[in-house]
Amino acid sequence: MTALLEVEDLRVAFTRRGEPDTVAVDGVSFDVKPGEIVGLVGESGCGKSVTSLAVMRLLPERGNRVTGSIRMDGEDLLALSDSAMRERRGRDLSMIFQDPLSSLNPVIPVGLQVTEVLTRHRGMKKHAARREAAELLDRVGIPDPTRRLDSYPHQMSGGMRQRALIAIALACTPRLLIADEPTTALDVTIQAQILDLLEQLVAETGTALVMITHDLGVVAGLCDRVNVLYAGRIVERADRHELFRAPRHPYTHGLLGSIPRLDGPPGEELAAIRGSVNDNLPWAAPEGGACAFTPRCPRALDVCGEVTPLAERAGTRLLRCHNPVPVAEGAA
């Protein structure tokens, strides 16, 4: 199947006069096929949100430089005019954020925020839009939807607000939905409801979903393919079964070993990854590069501090590592 979205060599650098650039996203490439759920995982600051904002073209206008290409249906979104991009955002792609509190308008009833999208982007008349809005709220599991159209965001619980936000995102029947940590602020039983909802919606509508999260558990249950980010670069990509069965990048491997498992024996020493992202080396440097993970990596070789590892294909897997975990060991 041809890809719906193709991100190629995306780089986002934040620029500040008198200071060196901060490269938040450093040559990221991935694609998403129609109806597919693709995960972007990694810890705080690795560039997940910046990647998604760049795809949506929602980064601040000034102070950053975006290069590479983001093609949807073969058309480069980075080359579109602002108004053409706005049009696309209304029609083809939508985003759900971590914090529904700050992405809903507090002084407008939720129903109106949904109907606005319907009238503006789908050209619906007021009455039809209201009916459709109630249906959307119903679809995302908000009880008593007709009455709820008139509620303000602050009159809803966190889980309900996230549902409302999903309804707004769905209003324009997008073909691609980007969800940036949509459940991180929610309790785990509410998270289960929202993940279940997203999974259902994808199955019913055929919308493709990019799921951004730091939680490997969320990815394991939901995504078809998973991209693991570290310090602005994709270090491993694989089908979810392959990735979890045999993580081959030392970072992925370490991450999986370091999380306590609910179904594992309690009390065992966890295989912690040493250090923190503060210890990272820069991927690229004038005097040759490095693997950013070197200071924390238990498998680091001399070459790791001297040469930037390239992203290489191994079967269906993508790996950026000089000394990956052997297949058998990774499977353990």
Binding site: V107, P143, Q191, D263
Partner: protein
């Protein structure tokens, strides 16, 4: 981890029918009490010397309030807290201060609990001086150096400031600060939830090692069930101000008995696609009810898929041990045996909406730049 001390060790902390109700006030001078938030409502638990007791539950269920009430940072509405056999309710002034040395707290956000203008050395020696543990500058410095080393901070950390450290290192400073006064009990409220996944394990391992070496007793509070279960000998599951189930860690996963525990366990995502595909989720309908208006009877009855027409909404279940259950396994559900034996089956529950702002005036907020502002966060 200290299985051997588990059953027999003496109780260090005993909490008996503890309640904390916060008044909700209104009026010009906030003088009128219009209701209460039942943050903690009838909690009893015992923590034995040398063990780790984990408290888990969703946001707002009262975990932090319980921790604070135990440390006497919040005044309980009623109930008793006994520390090493002594009721701490009556303690005041100098006596309370002396007692406080023996129980210390580690917070979620290490940065906000560390004064940025103080060097690590002065942060740590503060406790020594305050509790009269100082043995002169030379001896103190040696002790602090040992401590910094014990919690895995780099040499030379004493002269540095909190902002010069990573999140995980700051949490180590927080732990060192709690440790330097040689406490018996450490209450750790969400000790790793602000940390990166890759760093959490370091801090969890550190806590276990320090417990082994120093014979500490922990009360660990967290919303992450996998974390709590991992570090704890026993776990208490809270729902709306009460403990609904208490069990040895291994038992909790193998034999959950309360419907809420079952739902909670089934909702935690596992980092294993095969396990994820196999498992059956118990999806709870609706939201957590407000602790200002807790449901009658069993607090979970508005969302419980096993709810029965009898007793559930009229009678509050007391924690009790089921026949054949492991020692120390208690559950607060009227129908736990029938549920365990499959004699009653789960059914569909209609979602109940909870008005987050039920206590606020309804209608359009006039000036507000965000929902957070309206809710006063």
């Amino acid at each position: 981890m200290s299985e051997e001390t588990n059953g027999s060790a003496p109780a260090l902390l005993e909490v008996e029918d503890l309640a904390v109700h916060f008044p909700i006030t209104q009026g010009v001078f906030r003088g009128r009490t219009v209701g209460h938030v039942y943050a903690i409502d009838g909690v009893s638990l015992t923590v034995r010397r040398g063990e780790t007791y984990g408290l888990v539950g969703e946001s707002g269920c009262g975990k932090s309030t319980l921790g604070r009430a135990i440390l006497k940072l919040t005044e309980p509405t009623h109930g008793r807290v006994r520390f090493d056999g002594e009721d701490i309710a009556g303690l005041k002034g100098e006596e309370l201060r002396r007692r406080r040395r023996r129980f210390q707290m580690v917070f979620q956000d290490p940065m906000s609990s560390l004064d940025p203008r103080q060097s690590v050395e002065s942060l740590l020696s503060e406790g020594l001086t305050a509790h009269g543990l100082s043995k002169g500058p030379e001896a103190d410095r040696r002790r602090l150096r040992e401590l910094v080393d014990a919690v895995g901070l780099p040499k030379g950390s004493l002269r540095r400031y909190p902002h010069e450290f990573s999140g995980g290192q700051r949490q180590r400073i927080g732990i060192a600060r709690a440790l330097c006064v040689e406490p018996d009990l450490i209450v750790a409220d969400e000790p790793v939830s602000a940390l990166d996944v890759s760093v959490q394990a370091q801090v969890l391992n550190l806590l276990s090692r320090l417990q082994r070496e120093l014979g500490l007793t922990y009360l660990v509070i967290a919303h992450d069930l996998a974390v709590v279960r991992h570090v704890s000998d026993r776990v208490g599951v809270m729902y709306l101000g009460g403990i609904v189930e208490e069990a040895p860690s291994t038992d909790l996963y193998a034999d959950p008995q309360h419907p809420y525990t079952r739902a909670l366990l089934s909702a935690v995502p596992l980092p294993d696609p095969e396990a994820e595909d196999r498992r059956e989720r118990i999806l709870l309908a609706g939201d957590l009810p407000s602790p200002a208006a807790p449901p009658s009877g069993c607090r979970f009855h508005t969302r419980c898929p096993w709810k029965q027409a009898e007793r559930c909404d009229t009678e509050r279940p007391e924690p009790r041990r089921l026949e054949g259950a492991a020692p120390g396994h208690r559950v607060a559900c009227h129908w736990a045996e029938q549920i365990r034996d499959g004699r009653i089956r789960p059914h569909h529950v209609d979602a109940d909406m909870v008005d987050e702002a039920a206590t606020l005036a309804v209608g359009a907020p006039e000036h507000a730049s965000s929902v957070q502002e309206i809710l006063g966060r």
